[in-house]
């Protein structure tokens, strides 16, 4: 805008996973501004369509077009600002809130001074994921978001009470590849969430069906046990940076991949602890005691 403000507009939604922040970061980097200077408008069907917030694809799908659009806007801005600095547009860069002549400290104007001299009230550009790097199509189908897949590995440390059958997960170490980490704090939070959900279905979550009618008898949060604060282990997240040239931002999804390895890691740790393989989830105290031969196997796995 002529007043120096910057808006990102997309129909993508933020379901708590932080795409609003990431979009501001990506656009701010390209325009040489602080993320807090970017107004992100999302979650409205009037806006250009964005990806759905599922399938671990939001960041991977919407940050490349955001970066491309920001780059296009910047080219117009530099073109309009070039005469003010007696330079050619190609010699200019946006950095630290200023438009500067590259390699010539001192010859610069602020971002707002540059936008004040725009030929139009605003510069806008629209970009699409398919604009860059051939989009997200690849040979195996249209749904893929990456040229290569992600990898991750997790380790679990557990304590098993062989008298009560209670498994306590003491610690989980999650090593996760996520392409280019866009926001380390958010990535760590997402991986912690994935680990917690994996722990929850490894040990607690269980649909109990009435054997005669098939009705689920515990369809509420009173009876359907979820992991809570007391069951939360120490979670250590290690993020691997792995650049594959997948898109303009090289971002990948992180949510579901971090959920995959937790239950197997816990099950393997339980095996190492008690020497018996548990082959059903959830690994409840009844399942543990039955595996240890300490009780008649009764309704442990409905």
């Amino acid at each position: 805008m002529r007043d120096g403000s910057v808006e990102v507009v997309s129909g993508v939604q933020d379901i708590g996973t932080g795409i609003r922040t990431v979009l501001a970061q990506v656009v701010a980097e390209t325009l040489g501004l602080r993320p807090e200077a970017i107004l992100v408008r999302i979650g409205d069907t009037e806006y250009p369509s964005g990806p759905p917030s599922y399938g671990s694809r939001t960041t991977a799908s919407i940050t490349p077009p955001a970066r491309t659009a920001a780059w296009r806007v910047l080219q117009t801005l530099l073109r309009d600002a070039a005469p003010l600095l007696n330079a050619r547009a190609e010699e200019l860069e946006a950095r630290g809130g200023r438009i500067a002549v590259r390699d010539t400290p001192g010859r610069s104007i602020s971002f707002a001074e540059a936008t004040a001299r725009l030929r139009t009230d605003r510069i806008s550009a629209v970009a699409s994921r398919s604009d860059d790097y051939g989009g997200f199509r690849r040979q195996i189908g249209d749904a893929a978001i990456a040229r290569e897949d992600l990898g991750g590995v997790q380790f679990a440390e557990v304590a098993v009470d062989t008298e009560t059958g209670i498994i306590r997960v003491e610690r989980v170490v999650a090593v996760q590849d996520c392409g280019r980490p866009m926001n380390p704090l958010q990535i760590e939070s997402q991986v912690q969430g994935g680990v917690l959900m994996g722990l929850s279905y490894a040990l607690f979550e269980n649909r109990i069906l009435d054997r005669h009618t098939g009705h689920m008898v515990n369809p509420d949060l009173e009876e359907y046990k979820l992991a809570g604060v007391r069951e939360t282990p120490e979670i250590e997240v290690i993020v691997l940076e792995h650049y594959q040239g997948n898109s303009a931002t090289d971002a990948y999804g992180i949510a579901e991949p971090s959920n995959i390895a937790t239950a197997p890691a816990i099950a393997n740790a339980v095996y190492n602890a008690i020497g018996v393989r548990l082959r059903t989830l959830p690994m409840t105290p009844a399942v543990v005691l039955a595996a240890l031969g300490k009780t008649a196997r009764r309704e442990a796995t409905p």
């Binding site: 009435d210 054997r211 009618t213 008898v217």
Partner: protein
Amino acid sequence: MNRFAYFRPQTLAQAASAASTTVASAMAHPMDSEASASATTSPVIIKAGGIDVLDLMKENLLAPSVVVSLAGVGGMDIIEEDADGSLRIGSMMTLASVGSHPLVAKRYPALSAALNASASPQIRHMATLGGNLLQRPRCWYFRSEAFHCVRKGGSQCFAIYGENQYHAIFDNVACAMVNPSTAATVLVALGGEIMLVGGRGPAGNVPGVVEG
């Protein structure tokens, strides 16, 4: 949830004359048995903290035409010490306020411990001791609209031959559900008595804790 009228009496006598039945008997003897398999139509229900009554209503298990709130009745949220050293606890006291009361902690630490470990902090600050004792059981068949069990006017207990890992292992011939009240267990162990005020007779003391 169905429509219902809301009545907030100021005195115990008004409340007692307004309420015609208990939640338990209203659910066990539905007036309109042609209605849905389990939603119970009943005329007047008393509500204290509302933790269980509102759940039952939202789950379509209870459909009162009038809800009588005890929130406006004074004098039911205090603890008094009798001459013999026993405590008289108002039924409208919350679990949190009974659990943290110094006299209770000193005289009956088991009651304090049990109440402070009940449910969650939010519920403990809303639920009353009276409502806690009168809450309906947490049997998942009882709590499911899909099962018209003996406690809801049906003819059988589904838990006896069904999913019963959390049910009674003794005295379960007619119904296998267990009393869900943490306070009830302790009060029975302590030899507690309940003082009732009813519309059908004078106030009296009932030894022990009545059925769940």
